[in-house]
């Protein structure tokens, strides 16, 4: 006899969760991954208008895990778009590890830093993740660091409205000098120390100092100046318009995805500036303050998210490890080389034309139409992936020696 007290019915929410998990873990007849990303629509009642409308969601989880952590995110992409984007992601274990980390940190407004070797898909997956949230063809705001990156490119700078080529040349040459960096640093310090001044007062002080600077380098004292925000404030306040273009509102913008690449190459002053985007409890800052605009706060919209990526320090030769303060302020995920299985999967996708379109006819110079013979493609994939793996090991050995 079944004890009725031990019978427990599952709630609709639990049943839904189980269904989503089953879809995330779905595999094909040959064990190939079909899940990982699931699209669902839900009918919701708008609390203000009381009208029913449809919301779109994607669920992201690692299908290689027995109990995947599944993250639900609202999306602007259609079902067809999500399916098309899914087809462009080779279902490697590493790809889903990265996507899972992206989805979780995006949901919780935490900055993410992934350190991993070249060609594991950091840049590609940042692009695909953005497309999964916004629709096909939408790219994140990408910023590439190098030893030459200037803080002003990331934060903000004042740009003179020069009228002649000669004036432009004078100003640009000045900006590239060490003297310019010192003088601009002095202005920043003076503005920051003028604590008693209002925001308007600070802006007036900046203008006065900039006019003096312009005069000292040979520009007119009456030069007009324009404040130009860098990648960080821009991403905090971007609004994506219905036509796909972007506009900026430093107070009401929704925010957008910012991918800062090769952060391991950035100089210490750039890292110091980036530390501003750390907020409380490992989250992104809700606002930042810049001396360049007189200390006016720039709000981070709810969809602002920062993803940092970098290669391991050994690939940079003399470069140091990622700055510990920066790493501590975000979710830090370290990835290794692609596994043998993943290398084979990539090669198999490539040589059996699972990704990309099959050519309509044999290409000029080709002796074999392998797109019509997946069995040959699979054999070539075995050789190519074994070669790539051996080459990786040899190169690694060389580095260690």
């Amino acid at each position: 006899m079944i004890n009725p007290e031990k019978i427990r019915f599952k709630s609709p929410e639990e049943l839904k969760e189980e269904e989503i998990e089953r879809k995330i873990k779905e595999r094909g007849p040959e064990g190939e991954i079909l899940g990982g990303i699931v699209f669902e629509e839900e009918k919701v009642i708008d609390p203000e208008t009381k009208e029913e409308r449809t919301k779109r969601y994607i669920y992201i989880g690692n299908p290689y895990e027995e109990r995947p952590i599944i993250t639900k995110l609202e999306t602007d992409a259609s079902r067809e778009e999500v399916e098309a984007i899914k087809r462009e992601i080779i279902p490697m274990k590493e790809s889903f590890e990265i996507l899972e980390a992206m989805a979780m940190t995006y949901k919780h407004r935490q900055p993410l830093l992934i350190e991993g070797p070249t060609a594991i898909g950091k840049t590609y997956l940042a692009e695909k993740f953005t497309e999964l949230l916004y629709g096909r063809g939408v790219k994140p705001l990408d910023f590439y660091c190098s030893g030459q990156t200037d803080v002003s490119e990331l934060m903000a700078k004042w740009v003179p409205k020069v009228e002649t080529e000669e004036e432009k040349k004078i100003w640009n040459e000045f900006l590239e000098s060490i003297e310019a960096q010192e003088k601009i640093f002095q202005i920043a310090q003076e503005v920051e120390q003028a604590e008693k001044l209002s925001q308007g007062g600070k802006l007036a002080l900046i203008h006065k100092k900039l006019q003096e600077l312009a005069k000292s380098v040979g520009l007119s004292e009456k030069t007009q100046w324009r404040l130009q925000y860098g990648a960080v404030p821009k991403a905090m306040g971007l609004i994506r318009n219905p036509d796909g273009s972007f506009s900026f509102d430093e107070q009401k913008g929704m925010g957008f995805i910012l991918h800062i690449e090769e952060v391991g190459l950035a100089e210490p002053q750039v890292i110091t500036a980036l530390l501003q985007i750390r907020g409380k409890r490992g989250q992104l800052a809700k606002e930042i303050q810049l001396w360049e605009n007189g200390g006016k706060k720039i709000k981070a919209g709810p969809k602002f998210w920062v993803f940092f990526s970098t290669n391991p320090p050994e690939e940079y030769g003399a470069r140091n490890e990622i700055d510990p303060a920066l790493a501590r302020g975000m979710v830090f995920k370290r990835m290794g080389e692609l596994s043998e299985e993943s290398l084979y999967l990539v090669a198999e996708y490539y040589f059996t034309y699972k990704s990309g379109e099959k050519p309509e006819e044999k290409l000029e110079g080709c002796i074999l139409d392998i797109y019509n013979h997946p069995e040959i493609g699979r054999e070539i994939a075995k050789v190519v992936s074994a070669f790539h793996n051996a080459l990786n090991n040899a190169l690694k050995g060389g580095r260690e020696k």
Partner: protein, 158 residues
């Protein structure tokens, strides 16, 4: 230019025109390296390329600023032409950012440019970008450690 180099150049252009990287289906940027001791002049190489594809040349040296180079690239792309970019000074951050955008996404992405908060321009299907530099210069003057990774096909001229 020797016949053998002309053949190599033809193949190099052909690869840039036809080969798309998987899975993102983007075209590669090309690199032409003049090796130490080579007698080939850059003008000669540029003229040879012009015979194959409609190309305009930009010289990136001490007399030009990154913003101007980017303006020129946008302008050349608008004309559906190829860009032949001769590098004669270390690549600064604004240009490097755009080269990386082109290499990764075949797209330019600029902040506050031509009246737009975010300006995006896809590299036209009939346009490509080729960088020309001397080996000695690349090895000793380019500070970006992954310079070679920006490119797909590389043509070495001896």
């Amino acid at each position: 230019m020797k016949n053998m180099d002309k053949e190599k150049l033809n193949m190099f252009i052909h690869l840039l025109q036809k080969v798309q990287k998987q899975p993102n289906q983007t075209f590669d940027l090309g690199l032409i390296v003049k090796e130490l001791g080579s007698q080939i002049e850059v003008e000669e190489v540029f003229e040879e390329i012009k015979k194959i594809v409609d190309t305009e040349r930009i010289v990136y040296d001490e007399t030009i600023f990154d913003e101007d180079v980017i303006d020129k690239i946008v302008d050349i792309f608008r004309k559906n032409k190829w860009v032949f970019l001769e590098i004669k000074k270390d690549i600064k951050s604004p240009l490097l950012n755009q080269l990386k955008h082109l290499a990764n996404h075949n797209c330019l992405q600029l902040i506050d440019y031509q009246g737009k908060d975010i300006f995006e321009m896809k590299m036209p299907e009939n346009s490509r970008l080729i960088v020309f530099a001397e080996r000695d210069f690349i090895e000793n003057k380019i500070s970006y450690p992954h310079f070679y990774r920006l490119f797909g096909p590389t043509l070495s001229l001896k």
